[in-house]
Symmetry: C2
Subunit: 200 residues, 2 copies
């Protein structure tokens, strides 16, 4: 029933997630984090036992926040195409946080570093991709999308556009990024709808 420890632990993770979004996972050093929270390095360290354990906990915290702030609200949209659109649009919003999308940054950081942190991150992204595919499946059931549409393929292409949006917005700072993103996604939707072919 201890409360104080859990409280501190959560305060640490909350700040760590905020820092990691801006500075990257490796950018969160224990010393910096402790200073920011007015804790001693050792006191903070004791909560996790290792840097790696901290990183895993941060990823899980990020998942929690993402589900709460982005996934769940999107899932409240009406079944079918509206929900698919909501998932996409909410993600775009999520990507406008200071520092951008935590998961995109962390993926690039960990893509060649096997370990529990990488595993936790993969799990989170699969969850997201699955949720999109499920929503697309529902849209098929509702008759919004064509019968022979592959939900996983759609998820792949939609996620690709999200990545493009992220890069053009955050890195290239292209003023047309939003317009391009919208056009690209509308193209995906149009293709998913029609039993015939795409348009643009």
């Amino acid at each position: 029933m201890s409360t104080k420890g859990d409280e501190t632990r959560h305060a640490i993770l909350s700040k760590a997630f905020e820092l990691a979004t801006v500075a990257g996972l490796e950018g969160v050093s224990i010393g910096r984090l402790a200073e920011e929270l007015d804790l001693s390095k050792s006191g903070l360290f004791a909560h996790f036992g290792s840097k790696e354990a901290l990183q895993v906990a941060v990823i899980e915290e990020a998942s929690r926040v993402f589900i709460q702030d982005t996934l769940l609200p999107a899932l409240r949209a009406a079944r079918g195409e509206p929900r698919v659109r909501a998932l996409f649009n909410r993600w775009l919003e999520w990507g406008t946080r200071p520092g951008g999308c935590f998961f995109v940054a962390a993926s690039a950081e960990l893509d060649d570093r096997p370990g529990p942190a990488r595993d936790a991150l993969i799990k989170a992204q699969h969850q997201w991709l699955d949720e999109i595919a499920i929503a697309v499946g529902i849209a098929k059931d509702e008759g919004h999308f064509r019968d022979d549409l592959d939900p996983q393929q759609f998820a792949f292409e939609a996620y690709s556009v999200m990545l493009g949006a992220h890069l053009f917005n955050r890195f290239l700072r292209d003023p047309q990024a939003s317009a391009r993103t919208r056009r690209a996604f509308d193209g995906l939707i149009a293709d998913a709808r029609a039993p015939h072919r795409k348009r643009n």
Copy 2:
């Protein structure tokens, strides 16, 4: 004039680029690099004067290699659609290097760190995007693609698919990544071709 210095300098950059592709730009420390090359830290350091200058030079080296190994060979493909396809396929190959695509990794690393390194990286990516758009324009001239196609929009969407391919291959290790990528790109091409498609 002086050859020895330039020779060493290039050997440094070559190894640094190789390391950076695998470990990230920040992962290339001067000490590590010197050890790997059997040089002293200070001797190596003297070639660049600062870590930041080294990073900029590494990015320029990466550009050089990319242009030589990927861009130029692709540009030798026949004008029009074949060249557009070649650009895409060559990029996919480039992304299968150990460590993946240097530019994708570096973009994520620098997207919130203004400075000369970031500028050099942006320049390189714009060059690549422009080249795609130009090839698409030619494909329009050749009558391969429809007249009202927006080359920059195509470049955005194609690049998005490349990013998706990179993530699904390297990070998620999805065995279907290649198939998904091909399908997505074929969709883009199909859409770019048809001048007249049924509307909904």
